[in-house]
């Protein structure tokens, strides 16, 4: 028996069509596979399959205490636990009428900066860069390009240092809670971070220049079928924890109205639900959406570096998402340093509250995009209902549509190259399949003839 998971064999019935199958996608977080059927008439079917076994978080949250939600939902994803903690606690605070102080708010933004860095750099340097430079992994790439991999590791380490200091540890931090933190740092504890982050910010500038120099496949959607980018938007700052949900096609809603505009659909071939915008369909969340909707709220340094590397304020080629991620990494260092310079220790580590029967909503910007949580509580503060919509399930349909429109121009390529191209296109989205539900071993099929 193969160690890789088998996929249902749907190819046998076809005669003239070709099948691209990737049984297990590599360099993504979680377990996923790809199935593409095409023939001379074009691409007939694209399915991104998520076979990550279901873990039923929304079900077992029922009956749990509201204070547990940040710690439990963090376990949805080891790569972006802070995002789950942030969405969970903001939704609980919405339900309980808590408004965190400016000082607490700044500390939350600081820990989120740490996670953006750690998660983005993992993807840029270790998962995605090997696609552009033609290596199976960052470890293999390090033999020829040690400076790129070393720089990535140092940047990631600096991001982890932020999360570890504020959260106790990099993965599943223990210090954030509904209302604030269990313990807030003294200014002296934060000071040693400053030097490390300043050095890292300089490296992040180099990293953005390097990313912009990569060879990008030309890929843009047609003007009839442009992307609809969806992200939080906040009048004064680049979005992380707060804002309205906005889109490039005029959507502008409060987070509490999310369920009226977005629907999750259960499709047969995947364990992740597909999310669509009502009446419109697929949309894109993540770094490109944030960047395109909020460029003018990036810090002057980031806007300046974007100008120097010739990167426009609107990016519609997902293969260039690696540049956007690199600019967001730079932003996160810049923002973290700004927060540290202005740090005032909160008077109380957290705001006290009494549980009550209520519903609460929140969306925050996880590294991979909008992360929506909704909870209902009973009068004892026990959860009666929970809904969580992770970014990857929102991007799933857009990934499929990208492959649909991209593949025809690459059909002349040899199989190996075509598969590589498909995998790279999926990795553009840094799909976190553990969140919604890993990657690729690909087969091409024509008729009933199965190629290796």
């Amino acid at each position: 028996m193969p160690l890789h998971r088998p996929l249902p064999k749907k190819a046998a019935a076809m005669t003239k069509s070709k099948i691209i199958k990737v049984d297990y996608l590599a360099r993504v977080e979680g377990e996923g596979a790809l199935y593409i059927r095409y023939d001379d008439g074009g691409v007939q079917d694209v399915q991104l399959k998520i076979f990550e076994p279901p873990r039923f978080f929304e079900a077992f949250l029922r009956g749990r205490d509201y204070l547990e939600a940040p710690d439990i939902t963090a376990r949805i994803c080891g790569i972006c636990p802070v995002a789950y903690q942030m969405s969970a606690l903001h939704a609980m605070e919405d339900a309980l009428g808590l408004v965190p102080t400016l000082e607490l708010r700044a500390l939350r933004r600081l820990i989120y900066c740490g996670e953006w860095i750690e998660s983005h750099v993992l993807h840029i340097a270790m998962l995605h860069a090997p696609d552009f430079l033609g290596y199976p992994s960052a470890v293999a790439m390090a033999k020829d390009h040690p400076q790129i991999v070393q720089r990535g590791l140092q940047l990631k380490k600096a991001g982890n240092a932020i999360v570890r200091l504020l959260g106790g540890r990099e993965i599943h931090p223990i210090n954030v809670r509904v209302g604030g933190f269990y313990r807030v740092p003294r200014a002296g504890e934060l000071r040693p971070l400053v030097d490390e982050l300043q050095r890292a910010r300089d490296m992040a500038v180099e990293n953005a220049r390097w990313a912009a120099s990569l060879p990008f496949p030309k890929f843009e959607r047609s003007t009839q079928n442009p992307y609809e980018f969806v992200a939080l938007s906040h009048p004064d700052e680049y979005p992380m924890n707060e804002g309205r949900i906005a889109s490039t096609r005029g959507l502008n809603i409060s987070v509490a109205d999310y369920d009226q505009h977005f629907t999750e659909r259960h499709v047969e071939y995947t364990n992740a639900l597909h999310s669509v915008l009502n009446q419109r369909g697929a949309y894109m969340v993540g770094p490109m959406a944030r960047f395109n909707l909020n460029f003018d709220r990036l810090s002057p340094l980031v806007q300046q570096v974007a100008g120097e590397i010739g990167f426009p304020p609107f990016c519609a080629n997902p293969f260039q998402s690696i540049v956007v991620r690199s600019l967001e990494v730079l932003y996160a260092f810049d923002e973290a340093l700004r927060i540290l310079e202005n740090y005032r220790r909160p008077e109380e580590p957290y705001l006290q509250c009494q549980p009550r029967e209520a519903a609460g909503y929140a969306a925050t910007e996880a590294p991979r995009g909008l992360l929506y949580h909704r909870y209902s509580l009973d009068r004892d503060g026990k959860i009666t209902d929970a809904k969580i919509v992770p970014p990857t399930s929102q991007n799933q349909k857009t990934i499929e549509e990208d492959l649909h429109s991209m593949i025809p121009q690459y059909l002349h390529l040899p199989e190996e190259k075509l598969r590589w191209q498909c995998e790279q296109a999926i990795r553009n989205y840094d799909p976190c399949i553990s969140c919604s539900t890993h990657f690729l071993k690909l087969h091409l099929e024509r008729g009933d003839r199965r190629l290796p």
Binding site: A26, R27, R55, I72, P81, L153, G168, H438
Partner: protein, 262 residues
């Protein structure tokens, strides 16, 4: 290479999990490239699209068994592995997803999915040791990356890993922490919880919530008696603390059932 000593082959496997424990390996920023010189990363899907065939000298297994397919796959992984080490609460105790073991999974499926008939899953989430022999279990949700390096290093040097099985209380004493339970009246799972995190929660003025699972021979009955009688903790809170990331670990599961009825 010629007649040089062969480099051992490492494989990293994933079952139902959050990816956090395997990420711990990539979080070893200062050691990762050095490690890659000592051990051939032959199969690690999250990090590499290069996959070497087995057998493997060392397999690290993350995640719990929740599907019939995975029941088969873990047996094959065992057959291909000289040494098999589980990493994390999911692989060692069934993980948070083992909360289904206390309910009816059909109810769970219908809460999350519109078409429960599309979903194939087992009624329980079980640790790897329920299916195949395991050589060493590294506890923690998530594991401690220092301990992970110690376990790999011990394997490379053919010695037993130094992973103390004592409680979080000992780590607090070593750190000089003030006891949050005695001094602040904060319910803390430290006395029954396996060390390894470095007593993080008490160091942040918080009670331990047992993410490292049970220590060796934990006296859970005594601790819950203390919580209830001396600290007026409600049974529901006792159950919540026993039943989270290591809910199916026998010492925690049995004690939680005792309080569930109350």
């Amino acid at each position: 290479m010629g007649n040089a000593t062969p480099v051992p082959k490492l494989a990293v496997w994933k079952f139902a999990s959050c990816d956090g424990c395997q990420l711990s390996l990539l979080d070893c920023e200062d050691e990762l490239l050095q490690l890659a010189d000592k051990i051939d990363i032959a199969y690690f899907m999250e990090a590499s699209s290069r996959q070497l065939e087995g057998p493997y000298d060392l397999s690290l297994v993350e995640g719990s068994i929740t599907t019939a397919e995975d029941e088969e796959r873990i047996r094959e992984v065992r057959a291909q592995s000289h040494t098999l080490i589980t990493i994390g609460a999911c692989a060692t105790a069934g993980g948070i997803q083992a909360l289904r073991n206390f309910s009816d999974v059909k109810d769970f499926t219908s809460i999350v999915y519109a078409h429960p008939e599309y979903i194939a899953t087992l009624k329980t989430s079980t640790p790897i040791s329920a299916h195949v022999p395991v050589d060493f279990e590294l506890q923690g949700c998530p594991i401690n990356k220092r301990q992970l390096l110690e376990v790999i290093s011990a394997f490379l040097h053919r010695r037993p890993p130094q992973v103390p099985p004592h409680s979080v209380c000992i780590e607090c004493k070593l750190k000089g922490n003030v006891c949050v339970m005695v001094a602040h009246g904060t319910p803390c799972m430290g006395p029954v919880t396996h060390a390894g995190c470095g007593a993080l929660c008490p160091s942040y003025n918080r009670g331990c919530y047992a993410c490292y699972g049970p220590k060796e021979n934990p006296n859970t009955a005594s601790l819950s008696h203390w919580w209830k009688e001396e600290m007026e903790v409600q049974p529901v809170t006792i159950v919540e603390n026993l039943r989270n990331f290591n809910a199916a670990a026998p010492a925690f599961a049995e004690e939680s059932r005792r309080h569930d009825k109350e």
